[in-house]
Subunit: 343 residues, 4 copies
């Protein structure tokens, strides 16, 4: 059994980790930290876990996380970089669901997140946790930077085309839509029910933090300079992410060749589902499940890729568990077989 | 033109007052105060008002509210009682949308709201602003205690039966359901979209602040001791309130007599709509409109009254404007003719 | 492995059965019938099942259901009664999720559902599938009448009090609220998104079909004549049911005794969760999970019981699988361990 | 007073016309036809109109529409073309909210809508009812083709740039999102609450009927061949439309020049609101109001235009009333002053 600790278990990625790990046959939950909720049974905050998770939150200083085999950080940016060095030194593997180790370039990180990086020596060692593109490195890693939710959809949508060299990498458009849980469990006016229900808006156009992460990752697959326009929007639904990606072809390819390219790219990937050409995937077909589904469309020389996932599962906690499985030599899908809730 | 000031214009009842008053033909908006948003144009906070309301918020100490003919308090409990005495002394009429003057018994008020009442001398003078039951007093009043949203539905549903003496007043059940805007525009986890969407729950069972207000008002219409069980629930919708009221008949009456009782009670009331016996009113039939609709059902000796309204209009700001019209001798429905938005 | 057939797999209880059974370790799905969708892969209609369910729908006459060990009917009322006799004769167990065998009294059934009962000889043999009240009979049964969703909440809420003889059975009030999926997957105007979103209403007050079923079941636990007022409401959420139950105590009992009564009643029941006295259970704490949670409140001589469940799981398909497990001597919770999705 | 008839009053654009016209000071509603609801009081179908609209639906053959000054067609495609010729011959003005007269090229119309055009002789005479681009023609028209909801946003967003000649017209991308009411009041599975709530998807990618209408209109403002990629999506909200438009600049312009271009274009337009550069308009800021709001963003050589409106008001019925006002020489905004409902 893998002994697991979670730092910051009160947010949405934290409770989602609990939901997945409570049913994982090879996991033993050892500690869940929360400074604010010290002593509170986890199931009191999340009654959905009554009878399933019997732990209480413990203050960070009371939890001996060095007894764990792996520690997940489901925290705001900046926490993992402070605690990871000691854990790694004690032989504990670390999976960070925040951004601390996602961007290799320290200067870009610091200008993007407006905080100083306090563990820059770990940036090189950290492995970007997107199994479909990085499986071998993840299996060998001790420190994982779990990808952002938006970046997961953009990479799995664009990379096959970039690798093939079929599109103009300098003008990629990603028009993305996310459910409100992506904004986290924070007491903010803008994500109140009465503010975000029955409403739709874009936000952070031109300056979302996921742009540098995605651009840097996409750059790995092309020699052309990547130009990415990323427009996030807020959808009045709890979970779910839909990315509508536009790229211009730079050579003649048929729709069949496009479809074949994606099917070949993802045939062996258990958690990526390529739908028939011209399909319209719905976010609800992934609700609660660790799966990303995509479909291709075509308009003249423009390819349109529709990508959906549950932002809290394949876009966050499910992906983190997928990485954990790889890191510990387990079957990649262990504990991740839940089927999407529909309706 | 009536010169109007609003204290606390940033909450939902405040912006709803602005929506109604901006189109009121006899109103001139003079000042809207907000300590926090001093100097901010109202339309920057509420873009729905762009081009319609050109005022900026001003800090309370900068606004000379004594120049107004009437001041609305769309504030948390405790603010109106602090400022009303000076305004009244200056000849300004006051309409309080909070609870400061709703409960005549100071001790009950203080134990219910956990604050000291600092203007107890005004409690007697304050008029409870429910025009359908209190029209003449409102017309003559200088200080209005605007009713709570839940109490409005419970009173307009139970009072005809209490007046007639047909029901057992000692065992009234009000199973009430409110949209989330009733909880106000506050940064609280519990009313986040991701917490209250796709969810339903009761809250405050046995101890909601609207119970003493309602019980005291109902008591005015019966000599029997009123016993009221009030169970509020939170519905995943923005606006709307549905109260399902249960009372046991103490004498033989036919369904026709029941229906007649209510039709007689409200025939002359422009903002109460009695539907045919056995109807199922929907909250959306009142969305944005100053109207309360109700319908009667019967099961053996139990009468069931279904009551709907928009909690922010007939349940708050619309009712306040209705009171203002009466206080200034205007046609009662002036500025209140908007039709419900459906769908 | 149990060979399972499903008649009527296109509705919401059908797809929910598929979600649960696809992951059940002792089940082999053999046939799913649909006259309309004959030949269509199940996963084309429900992409959430892509890669998990490889069956196609087959027309009823093509599917040899007599090869199955058990057949679930997720059909409109009237279908199971037509097909069950032949299946039972062939030694196949039958679990009907519709109402065909829920009401023992044929005349009451026929007047309630407005159809003739074509297999009245099976009414006596059919076992009402509420395991918490009926476990032994279910284990021995060949024909199960799976309870309605509302009746499940009303029975599990009222029965401990009826058995104890502490309440006035002649005046029970059940003010119930259901998510829209309870209305089924039917092309009807009233349950369109644009009609039922941001809206709340009662429906079927005084005449809902679940009243006779519930009253007859409750009657089994008291010698007093049961009087039940049942008021269903429609909540703008997909899944979830919240029943607010009111009963008057006929003797002196303390809150502690009340709580103890329920804890004793459900201590050994894996799928009923009694919360601390005075709690407010939320429907989302059961979303997707086979669990019913309840909490007690008290107001004078009135007990208020708040009950929540997922109408499609503990209220329908999960309960049916729970019955199947009992009928085949399996662990009662097999395949039913999924944790509620929250947020 | 203008005598008004409505053909097809049971759908969402029909009831929205009723809401607006019932409060219009110069309108007298004379007839509302519905074959199916003949004789039913309008307020029985739409209780929001109780006390405001006293007409009953009448069968088409019973309503003498030739007594009207103007007739609105809030019908499916194909109805207006059948009835308009006789009405026009009788001197009645016609405003069609469907597509019958939107596309001048009969062949394109017929291949897009899959029906034969039975009044092709009126195509030339019909005026496209977008007042901001076409005011004079509308004022002189007797037959109006009211624009589609999506096309309204695309035209008002792209046209200033096309007129200026600053963008590459051959590669315009419109990523558009609509509330569910845009799909109409039809009994269809796909728009049930349980299917479209808590969900997001694209639909009709590559083949939506609004593409030819929009492309043809945009073509009027540029000599370059217009290339338009239009991707519609369904948002789980009732009303509201958000179009995210992308165009590439073909010359050097500053953000200030861009902003100035739009402010100049719409300064005199009462129902188009240009927000400050870099704003994020929300659909709810237009809920129920006849206004379109837009804001500009910039990413390198790409201009991003965010456009919002209420699809039933400025996107349909409100625009139709705006046209009516112009056709009858009334003040353009008469009856259209309602402020958006927020929250």
């Amino acid at each position: 059994m893998i002994k697991v600790g979670i730092v910051g278990g009160t947010g949405y990625t934290g409770v989602e980790l609990l939901r997945l790990l409570a049913l994982h046959p090879e996991v033993e939950l050892r500690a869940i930290t929360s400074r604010k909720e010290d002593g509170l049974p986890v199931a009191d905050l999340y009654p959905s876990l009554r009878g399933r998770v019997n732990l209480a939150f413990s203050a960070p200083d009371k939890a001996d996380l060095t007894q764990c085999d792996v520690v997940f950080f489901a925290t705001p940016h900046g926490v993992a970089m402070a605690q990871a060095p000691a854990l790694l030194a004690a032989g504990v593997k670390v999976i960070d669901l925040a951004a601390d180790f996602r961007i290799k370039d320290r200067a870009v990180f610091e200008s993007t997140y407006k905080i100083e990086h306090t563990a820059p020596e770990l940036l090189e060692q950290a492995v970007y946790g997107l199994p479909e593109l990085n499986r071998e490195d993840i299996a060998a890693a001790t420190l994982i930077a779990n990808p952002g939710c938006y970046p997961t959809t953009m990479q799995l949508g664009f990379v096959p085309l970039l690798k093939a060299g079929w599109i103009d990498a300098s003008h990629l458009i990603a028009d993305c839509k996310s459910g409100v849980s992506g904004a986290g469990r924070k007491a903010e006016i803008g994500i109140l029910f009465s503010e975000s229900s029955d409403n739709f808006k874009a936000y952070g156009v031109g300056g979302h933090r996921h742009t540098p992460e995605t651009a840097a990752q996409l750059q790995r697959y092309t020699e052309q300079k990547v130009g990415l326009i990323f427009t996030p929007h807020l959808v009045p639904m709890i979970r779910g992410m839909h990315s509508t990606l536009y790229a211009r072809l730079t050579r003649e390819v048929s729709n069949e060749e496009l479809q074949q390219l994606f099917e070949d790219a993802y045939r062996e990937q258990p958690f990526v589902d390529v739908l028939p050409f011209g399909s319209h995937p719905e976010t609800r077909s992934t609700r609660g499940a660790n799966v990303l589904r995509l479909a291709l469309h075509r308009h003249g020389d423009t390819v349109i890729i529709l990508v959906v996932q549950d932002n809290l599962v394949k876009g966050a906690s499910g992906q983190a568990v997928q990485c954990m499985n790889l890191m510990f030599g387990l079957e990649e899908g262990l504990g991740l077989q839940t089927i999407a809730l529909m309706p």
